[in-house]
């Protein structure tokens, strides 16, 4: 089974084959000889297609962090099914999504309200910074899934709009 490896918003298909000590990496259809030797702490020596890299790596099951040349890259590992599920719910411009984790400061709209593009849907606060999330297109407030004072995680949908004219 190939997994999806997501880096900087781009998806790549990745799979390993062969025994632990002689891995072949299949990356976006190309087969590469690759090995990773873990060293002290998070540091590791990578060999891929004949080139060596010194890097740091640590992660959880589906969220990996790779330090290379002074920069850290976050890599998500997804099963192909999960990718399809996410795409089905992708942004339509009708949702106010939390750009960062935080809490709700003010909710100037109520379910049923008509809003114009640019109207503030919800004001949030994160680490003492206040941000207004605005409607990107006109519509009617279909659902509010947050409340003043409540916390949320990044990417949570806070307010849903229905396109004007839809039921």
């Amino acid at each position: 089974m190939r997994h999806i490896v997501r880096l900087e918003g781009q998806d790549h298909a990745a799979a390993l084959s062969g025994p632990v000590n002689d891995r072949q990496l299949l990356l976006d259809g190309a087969a590469l000889a690759a090995s990773l030797v873990r060293k002290a702490g998070s540091s590791a020596a990578l060999q891929v297609a004949g080139t060596s890299f010194g890097l740091h790596i640590a992660g959880t099951d589906d969220r990996l962090f790779v330090w290379l040349d002074g920069e850290v890259y976050e890599v998500a590992v997804l099963e192909p099914l999960a990718v399809h599920a996410r795409q089905a719910g992708a942004a339509t411009g009708l949702e106010a999504r939390a750009p960062m984790p935080g809490s709700v400061v003010a909710l100037p709209v109520a379910v049923g309200d008509s809003v114009r593009a640019g109207d503030t849907l919800v004001i949030i606060e994160s680490m003492k910074l206040e941000v207004a999330l605005k409607a990107t297109q006109p519509g009617r407030v279909a659902a509010i899934s947050c409340a003043v004072g409540r916390n949320f995680e990044k990417d949570a949908v806070l307010v849903m709009l229905a396109a004007e004219g839809s039921a």
Partner: protein
């Protein structure tokens, strides 16, 4: 000092500053306690402290702002003095008074000086009335009915500030006066929420200003000294991210003038303990901005160039000792730079990042100091400020300090939570920063040029390969493949 009037000090704070204060408390032979809320469970300060005082509240921040609870628990734990650090209750005159009323010593200024300087409008009036320079402004309290009209009359660009503010919260620049009324309303709301006070003032905004501040130490015997200036012009969202000492722009004459002005203001206010007088500097002219009545985040650059431990002097002053050095004794040795390592994403307008510290490596070497508030296992949440650690470098001159800072940043590794470490490295490499041509809008103006460049195809392949080779899910899938399929290897589709 032979006899301290206190032997146990509670640090009423968390994160890097709690650890930094505890180090000096312990080095002086005193007992150090620290606050802990359940949100923090892996932190250097908790490991350093001789005792931990657990606090609770409806939110983690509310717990650190609950002065009555902190005082009661401090007394129960045997504390005789409280060091507030910065933020939280450090500039709360009511807390300062309550600590004194409880019989403990507050390590900081007297409440009167704190109230005076904490009210930005009163402070400004006080400073102007004594002949020190302030920027042209309109103050709501002078006559609330005509405030908006007076603000419009100043002409743009304008800077709106909450009267009770600090730390850049609620501040807004207005370039088009048509936006002024909306901006006033928004600033008022933020002022009410952060400081419980919606009063505002507006002042003429100096274009391409530098932020220069002077460190003060004042004792209870009438001695006021300055420890030279710091330049903190590299900011995002009105909050500093890189500070250095000395400033890259002041001449010797200007340095004497700005430092003497700061000493004059502190003396006029009857100030005691450590404080910082902040100025806006542009076109050779400086204006009083505000006085911060606490230890500053960026105090380590002053410690590096003067060789003085500011926390030690805070403790000695609070204990009633006289400053033992003259102004001439305060040296200015080399150049120091501090970089604030924050959990934030420079590519998303510095939005905060959260996560868990999976790996944390600190740099070492001559002239390198790391004041860290995190350690492996720590959880970084949106509950607190995004500051994680401060990297401070010191070298004989600025060019060497910049090189040392870049090398140290490359040796700093944080995995598990997004941070600005890479961004700080690119900022230091910016030609204007290298040249010392700084202003407080530089970061915002150059933001596009400071973003991470695209990965080269080879580097991208390396990152993906490293991730695939360490991912438990991908490895498990490979090991689960039946032998026949494995033998087919890359041919399998």
């Amino acid at each position: 000092m032979r006899d301290w009037p206190f032997d146990t000090v509670l640090v009423a704070n968390r994160g890097e500053i709690a650890a930094r204060i505890l180090r000096t408390v312990k080095a002086l032979g005193l007992r150090g306690l620290v606050l802990q809320h359940a949100a923090d469970f892996a932190a250097p300060a908790l490991a350093l402290a001789d005792g931990v005082v657990t606090i609770e509240g409806p939110t983690p921040v509310a717990a650190f702002l609950d002065g009555a609870q902190i005082i009661a628990k401090a007394l129960a734990a045997g504390a005789q003095a409280i060091h507030p650090g910065y933020g939280f209750l450090s500039e709360n005159a009511g807390f300062c008074r309550a600590v004194a009323d409880s019989g403990m010593i507050f390590i900081g200024p007297a409440p009167d000086a704190m109230s005076l300087m904490g009210d930005k409008v009163r402070a400004r009036g006080f400073v102007a009335a004594r002949g020190f320079p302030v920027a042209p402004s309109a103050i709501e309290d002078d006559d609330p009915a005509s405030f908006a009209a007076r603000a419009h009359a100043l002409g743009g660009p304008l800077l709106i500030k909450p009267a009770a503010g600090g730390g850049g919260k609620g501040m807004r620049i207005v370039r088009d006066l048509a936006d002024l009324d909306d901006a006033l309303a928004q600033a008022r709301r933020e002022g009410l929420r952060y400081f419980g006070d919606g009063r505002l003032y507006v002042e003429r905004y100096v274009e391409r200003p530098r932020h220069i501040e002077v460190q003060i130490l004042a004792d209870h015997h009438g001695n006021v000294r300055h420890l030279h200036e710091r330049e903190c012009s590299l900011q995002r969202r009105f909050q500093k991210i890189v500070e250095e000492a000395p400033s890259t722009t002041l001449s010797g004459q200007q340095r004497r003038e700005i430092c003497d002005t700061a000493v004059g203001i502190a003396a006029a206010a009857g100030y005691r303990n450590a404080g910082t007088v902040e100025f806006i500097y542009g076109d050779g002219v400086f204006y009083f901005l505000e006085m911060n009545t606490r230890l500053q985040v960026e105090h380590p650059v002053t410690e590096a160039v003067t060789g003085l431990d500011l926390v030690e002097h805070q403790l000695r002053i609070a204990a009633g000792e006289a400053l033992r050095f003259t102004q001439q004794d305060v040296r200015l040795d080399g150049h120091a730079i501090e970089l604030r390592i924050c959990a934030e994403d420079a590519a998303a307008d510095f939005a905060p990042c959260t996560g868990r510290v999976l790996a944390w490596h600190e740099p070492h070497g001559e002239g390198v100091r790391m004041d860290a508030g995190i350690m492996q296992g720590a959880r970084i949440t949106a509950a607190f400020d995004p500051l994680l650690a401060k990297l401070i470098v010191h070298a004989p001159d600025r060019a060497q300090a910049l090189r040392r800072a870049e090398a140290a940043l490359r040796d700093t590794v944080l995995l598990g939570c997004g941070s600005n470490i890479g961004f700080l490295g690119r900022l230091l490499a910016h030609p204007d920063v290298r040249a010392g041509e700084l202003h407080t809008g530089l970061v915002q103006a150059e933001l596009d040029n400071l973003q991470r460049p695209a990965l080269s195809p080879q580097a991208k392949q390396a990152v993906l390969a490293a991730a695939a080779l360490s991912s438990p899910a991908i490895r498990a899938a490979a090991d689960a493949v039946p032998k026949l399929h494995a033998a087919m290897g890359a041919w399998r589709n």
